[in-house]
């Protein structure tokens, strides 16, 4: 079976919330000689991208997406057993639900998918003050911060993070990604809170952070 066929089957397992079936499938793929990195790049990643399209078409629920993120995590842990050994990562990213926001599920899914895509994810959890997110980003040399909020009231707290980034002269060095249900419902909030970009779902996060990283590198003249 070719990688894209494994990927088709993995997508089916994700849609049907079949975690054990997915684990068996990945095991079979590895046993059939597909290299772990190939599993991530050519089996898991395409499945995730297609899952994202289904999410955008509103045919996937939170419960299904949750299981899909667990399957992605399972696959990642199986194919990259010790991430600390990995010398080739895309870079560091800091994530957190902004101050007063306690809706962690989406953020955790984003973290899982970004890890699966090769980012070093520093997830600071719920209710994180803007200052803490920025300090961590500086400490780990992150190119972007992902601030999550589910509701409009808490989304507006992200404005403080925007202000801090700008005041510290880091506008071109640290990009601000925003996400959460409210941004899907009201896309204009992204610019209202000072976000540099958003993704409609966890699956789209990798593409977003790649773009933001490229913007940082271009500004800094990094090849």
């Amino acid at each position: 079976m070719k990688p894209h066929e494994w990927s088709e089957q993995l997508l089916d397992a994700m849609i049907n919330a079949d975690r054990s079936g997915a684990a068996e499938l990945i095991g079979n793929a590895l046993a059939n000689g597909i290299e772990p990195q190939q599993v991530i790049a050519e089996v898991l990643d395409p499945a995730i991208v297609r899952l994202g399209h289904l999410w955008e078409k509103e045919t996937m629920s939170l419960a299904q997406n949750f299981v899909a993120s667990k399957i992605a995590e399972d696959t990642l842990l199986r194919c990259v057993p010790d991430k600390t050994d990995s010398l080739c990562t895309k870079g560091a990213i800091v994530l957190g639900n902004i101050e007063d926001d306690f809706h962690s599920l989406g953020r955790k899914a984003v973290g899982l998918f970004l890890s699966a895509a090769g980012w070093d994810v520093y997830d600071l959890g719920n209710d994180v003050p803007a200052e803490e997110l920025l300090e961590k980003a500086i400490e780990v040399n992150a190119c972007a911060i992902g601030a999550s909020a589910m509701m409009q009231t808490t989304a507006l707290n992200i404005r403080k993070l925007r202000q801090l980034i700008d005041e510290r002269g880091l506008t071109d060095r640290i990009k601000l990604a925003v996400g959460g249900a409210v941004f899907n419902w009201r896309p204009e909030l992204v610019s209202e809170v000072g976000g540099d970009g958003t993704a409609n779902n966890a699956v789209g996060a990798d593409e977003l952070f790649m773009r933001l990283q490229a913007e940082v590198m271009n500004r800094q003249g990094t090849p």
């Binding site: 629920s61 419960a63 949750f66 007063d100 306690f102 009231t153």
Partner: protein, 337 residues
């Protein structure tokens, strides 16, 4: 209330979820509003006097439930409180936790006292609406949403045992609210929303708990989608005991909802909560009119926002625009008769 009970009415009713808004009108902070039954009751009185919507509502504060199971609350000045962290970490541990007695649990007893005060003041004048989480989503307030979804998806038998365990609390809480004076219960069942669970999961694992618990609760009930879409499940609700209405989401199509739910069930909604603070009064009026044009002609319709508490930043004129739109519509209809 007449609309909810299928009786004739003299005008189109309009509902708005304005629990927290009472704090804005009376100048108290939200913690005081939700911790002091007198302050909450005063807030509802101010809401009613200021706007004249066709209801008062008992405190819509789910952290009172999470606290009853040991959870911690995050208070805010801009929104109703949220659960900061659940009191119990796993479904297995939750099975060992005794169910709270509503009358003897701090936050729940405040809700009941506020309900009694509202009943003393408004019984038979405007409907007193109580809001509570449905039996399927209730465990998320006890162990957290993520843990609950994980249990549902990966430990079906354990999830069923937890639902069995907590269902009696849902029933006792609902009946306590009715006994305290609530006229109607709005049951927010997140698992019925398309954004939370697929139809098959809802139908197989959660709907049976609505069916069995509703028969144990004597008052009228409205099923609420908690802000998501519910059209995909509307045909499943016809057998629920005492169901008098369904609150549809802002992205549900009112005409399609009517087709699926049948001619006699009340539909409530479906103004977008997030639009209310963001748009002008004129735009809210147009949106309200659009809802009315789509749903009012077939009757059994209540114009309402389609989510939880209306954001505190919503200008009063936007709320009045909802009322005006319904009044204008009613006047036009009666003028055409």
């Amino acid at each position: 209330m007449a609309t909810l009970m299928g009786q004739p009415v003299d005008r189109l009713p309009v509902f708005a979820v304005l629990g927290a808004y009472g704090a804005k009108l009376t100048g108290v902070n939200l913690r005081t509003l939700y911790s002091d039954a007198a302050a909450y009751s005063a807030g509802q009185e101010a809401v009613l006097q200021t706007f004249g919507f066709d209801l008062v509502m008992t405190p819509f504060i789910y952290t009172a439930i999470s606290e009853a199971f040991g959870g911690e609350t995050a208070w805010s000045e801009s929104q109703a409180p949220n659960m900061k962290r659940p009191g119990i970490k796993t479904a297995a541990a939750a099975l060992l936790h005794p169910l709270p007695n509503p009358e003897q649990t701090a936050g729940l007893s405040v809700v009941l006292e506020a309900t009694r005060r509202l009943a003393d003041r408004y019984k038979e004048q405007v409907p007193i609406i109580a809001v509570l989480p449905g039996p399927g989503i209730m465990p998320s307030l006890i162990i957290g949403l993520e843990q609950w979804i994980e249990t549902v998806m990966f430990e079906e038998e354990l999830a069923g045992r937890l639902l069995d365990h907590t269902a009696p609390f849902f029933v006792s809480w609902a009946n306590a609210l009715l006994a305290a004076g609530a006229d109607c219960l709005v049951v927010t069942e997140g698992t019925a929303a398309a954004e939370i669970a697929p139809r098959s999961l809802f139908a197989e694992r959660f709907l049976p708990y609505l069916t069995t618990t509703f028969t144990q609760i004597s008052g009228p009930k409205v099923l609420h989608q908690t802000g998501g879409r519910i059209t995909h499940n509307l045909d499943l609700f016809s057998g629920l005991a005492g169901l008098v209405g369904v609150a549809v989401g802002s992205r549900d199509d009112l005409s399609e909802a009517r087709r699926l739910i049948g001619p006699d069930m009340n539909l409530i909604g479906n103004l977008d909560n997030l639009s209310l603070p963001a748009l002008s009064a004129g735009q809210i009026s147009e949106m309200s009119r659009s809802c009315l044009d789509a749903a009012a002609p077939s009757g059994h319709y209540i114009l309402s926002n389609a989510g939880a508490d209306i954001p505190l930043t919503t200008p009063p004129e936007n709320l009045r625009a909802m009322l005006s739109a319904a009044a204008d519509y009613s006047a036009e209809i009666s003028g055409n008769r």
